[in-house]
């Protein structure tokens, strides 16, 4: 059984991390990242052509993480595959031992490195959650019985800070109805908005894993605010990070404070290091000493 599922169901505060597979076949750097953050994580998200940019597939990289002894969260976007390929890959994932799947829409190709690509979006994330739920119940999306079903622990993305809230909430509730058992959120800066999210999701029995992003450089802050969809770093945080004598140290300090606060609110934390993997133990460890 999925360690992530087990921990969440037991009420343990979970930690998830995130790895982007390489552009190419050299796995050394990816393995290094997995080895660095893996020991501190219940599970590691393996992104799927992150940022609509070409990477080795999440399916293969998730299996590698599993073989290394760590638990992956296989990410599947709706951008690059039609319903045949999506179902086929879900079946493949299960046979490869991938028990956790995070189902997301995916960034538009226009924002990535292949802007000439056709965005498929044959299914949207709610529909794909429904398809995965059907597979867990033993059928494909047409209702035909599968020879061997799946038992995925399914997650979805959520955006507690993006307004309008009523529409975000409706969307999240629909994802729960479609089968999402946990949410991983975009990076959180406003804890009150995280609290209102958890307050709504807890009664539904859905776990909320709150995102923390390590704002490791001024350039990273600008990238998020100018280029990354669905996230804005508030002005006071921008000032704090950009005004620091050592931006990376300040970013780790901020992330550490955020993790500490999130422990009292959510069911887990999802750490996005932006490459500063070595900071993960510190972000979590400093917290343990407190």
């Amino acid at each position: 059984m999925s360690r992530l599922r087990d921990a969440l169901e037991r009420g343990e505060f979970v930690v998830t991390g995130e790895i982007a597979p390489p552009l190419g076949t050299d796995l050394a750097a990816m393995r290094q990242s997995i080895e660095t953050i893996g020991p501190y994580c219940h599970a590691i998200n393996i992104t799927d052509n992150q940022g609509a940019s070409l990477h080795l597939s999440s399916l293969a990289a998730s299996r590698i993480a599993l073989e290394m002894g760590y638990e992956p969260i296989f990410q599947q976007t709706c951008r690059d595959r039609n319903r045949l390929a999506l179902q086929s890959d879900l079946l493949a994932a299960w046979t490869l031992g991938l028990e956790n799947v995070l189902i997301v829409t995916g960034d538009d190709p226009r924002s990535g490195d292949h802007p000439q690509a056709k965005g498929v979006f044959d299914l949207d994330s709610t529909q794909l959650l429904e398809v995965a739920s059907a597979m867990n119940a033993g059928t494909d999306m047409l209702g035909r019985p599968l020879k061997g079903s799946t038992d995925f622990f399914m997650g979805a993305a959520m955006f507690p800070e993006a307004e309008p809230w009523d529409i975000q909430l409706l969307r999240a509730e629909r994802k729960v109805e479609a089968g999402a058992r946990f949410f991983q959120t975009q990076a959180i800066f406003d804890l009150a908005k995280l609290e209102r999210t958890v307050a709504v999701m807890r009664p539904l029995g859905v776990k909320v894993i709150a995102g923390v992003i390590v704002l490791r450089s001024a350039r990273a802050v600008d990238f998020i605010n100018n280029r990354l969809a669905g996230l804005m770093v508030p002005d006071d945080i921008v000032a704090r990070i950009k005004g620091a004598s050592d931006v990376a140290i300040e970013a780790v300090a901020l992330a550490t404070e955020q993790v500490r606060a999130i422990r009292d609110i959510a069911d887990g934390v999802h750490i996005m290091t932006l490459g500063l993997d070595s900071a993960v133990p510190q972000i979590l460890g400093a917290n343990q000493e407190a």
């Binding site: 951008r79 319903r83 997301v104 829409t105 960034d107 538009d108 226009r110 924002s111 965005g119 979006f121 044959d122 299914l123 949207d124 994330s125 709610t126 529909q127 429904e130 999306m141 993305a157 955006f159 993006a162 307004e163 309008p164 529409i167 975000q168 409706l170 969307r171 629909r174 109805e177 479609a178 975009q186 969809a229 669905g230 996230l231 804005m232």
Partner: protein
């Protein structure tokens, strides 16, 4: 209407050069391409001047009444058969449907002079927006008359996606998010929130589309 835009002129010149065409007949369209200011009399005369500037002879020109209409275009081209016969190529300033209708009507090589881009609403003179994909399976009954298939850049039936911020679209950042607009209009009209829409049935929109009212009462797809 069908929205067209001018085609890269160098491609047009290259097409003509490829067959060594120095004498050209031009055909515009009196319908959509005239409204879109791409294939009316003014644009046909501009194309004529450009062809002449590059040393070609324009043997004649005409504006088809409805260039995509086989009967009308057959008549229009027969009326100008002398000028067309004198040409080595015909340049059509109409949508792709119009270009093919002309190509079927005459034996000469026919080249597209425009790019066909979308089925457009005329928002006001000279301003066109895409609102319908002609998907063959309309969802506007469920979406308060706002098409998510077309106006959501990702074409999501259920949204918003994770990039929505302050009600704005992540892809076309100055646009209102279609899914926010849909939910807001449903509420304003006192209707239920949009239900989860099922995956689209793309078998409703198989290429090539064909309707024949003569074959079967009410038509078939």
């Amino acid at each position: 209407m069908i929205i067209t835009q001018s085609r890269d002129w160098e491609r047009i010149e290259a097409d003509l050069d490829e067959i060594g065409a120095s004498r050209v007949f031009i055909m515009g369209c009196g319908q959509c391409a005239t409204v879109a200011s791409t294939g009316g009399e003014k644009e046909v005369l501009e194309a004529k001047a450009k062809l002449e500037a590059s040393g070609r002879t324009v043997t004649g020109w005409t504006i088809g009444e409805v260039t995509c209409h086989s009967g009308g275009t057959g008549l229009d081209t027969r009326k100008r058969s002398g000028d067309i016969e004198a040409a080595e190529a015909v340049l059509v300033l109409a949508c792709g449907a119009g270009v093919q209708t002309v190509a079927d009507a005459i034996a000469k090589p026919v080249f597209p002079g425009l790019e066909s881009v979308f089925l457009g609403n005329v928002v006001r003179h000279g301003v066109f927006e895409e609102r319908c994909q002609m998907c063959g399976e309309c969802v506007l009954d469920k979406t308060a008359g706002i098409c998510p298939v077309t106006t959501c850049p990702k074409g999501l039936l259920n949204g918003p996606c994770g990039g929505m911020w302050d009600g704005k679209c992540e892809v076309v950042v100055d646009r209102e998010c279609t899914h926010v607009l849909i939910q807001r209009r449903l509420v304003e009209q006192g209707r239920h929130a949009q239900e989860v829409l099922s995956p689209k049935d793309y078998s409703k929109k198989l290429k090539p589309g064909s309707v024949n009212l003569r074959e079967k009462k009410g038509g078939s797809r």
